[in-house]
Symmetry: C2
Subunit: 189 residues, 2 copies
């Protein structure tokens, strides 16, 4: 083993960048990852724009139309979709603090959408990041749908341990921070 | 032949609904079609929300966040995508008046997007409706990309005759007004 000049080994966790230090959230990490996939000709996957209900627009002369009253709407589908190796890709991404994932983080109509695209043959999943555990999971749509549809279930959240046992962890690296297609490759190709 | 009580035949073009009388534009027709595909479990294809650059949001107490300054942005991708028979579907839709389709109706980065998703194996096309001719064409992405990339070409528009010779017409009916998956089936499945 080669030691550092001062004779001390660098501790492993010193080189590890904690999620707090990354200064980026899951959405930014996914944008970076999708841009990486695009730049390296791996896949074409995009975040959909946030849906807005426009109420009033001004059209000032000689300048761009200005929206002066609008409201956020709920996304009726998932946030991300695209194409990878001819297959349709469709997923939702959620960050959570704490020790469990609140079920109400994903709306009922989004669960319906996941079921529907899964049935039409899209590669469908949910990416869930536990900020405090510094872990990002690849969750198969069928597994999370089962949890939501289990009528005997009285829980309002899914504990971290469920993800830790059942789901794969998406590896982190700086240039491609949420390399979820690595897991897609392992599972589907 | 059975005649009407007054002894006169109804003229064929009287029963035909002209595009003007339909009172609907291509976007509405496509929304209706995509809803039909969803309801009858044929495919899951959606229009992406219009991208908006949000500048200012008010958060009044006890009511929804109100966007008070925002601007329209250009869509960096196409407007429509989804999944059909496990395949990724990606397309743009444009209406045009007049006798030719202006090339600047589709932005350069949208042509780049069409090329890119085509290369990744998505079923990729453009739907172009000529309002005055009452015809809606299914245009293969490769054909329209070729037109845009032909450097010897000095035209600023594609004449109706090009579409009429080269492209399939998408049939119209009231409940499923732009049944483009019929053409997809003929060409791909």
């Amino acid at each position: 083993m080669i030691n550092y000049p001062n004779g001390k080994k660098q501790k492993l966790n010193e080189s590890k960048i904690s999620s707090a230090n990354r200064g980026m959230n899951l959405e930014n990490d996914l944008n970076k990852t999708n841009q990486y996939y695009l730049d390296f000709n791996i896949a074409n996957i995009h975040k959909k724009p946030t849906p807005i209900q426009i109420v009033h627009v001004d059209y000032p002369k000689r300048s761009a139309a200005k929206i002066t009253e609008a409201y956020f709407k709920l996304q009726s589908t998932t946030d991300y979709n695209g194409v990878y190796k001819s297959c349709a890709i469709d997923f939702e991404a959620k960050e959570c603090r704490g020790k469990s994932f609140p079920l109400n983080s994903i709306h009922k109509h989004q669960i319906e959408h996941l079921k529907n695209v899964l049935q039409h043959g899209a590669i469908t999943f949910v990416i869930i990041r536990f900020i405090n555990y510094d872990k990002t999971f690849f969750v198969l749509a069928k597994d999370i749908i089962k949890f939501y549809e289990n009528k005997e279930n009285t829980r309002k959240s899914i504990p971290f341990s469920w993800f830790d046992e059942k789901c794969r962890v998406i590896p982190y690296n700086l240039i491609n921070p949420v390399n979820y297609l690595k897991i897609v490759d392992e599972l589907y190709f």
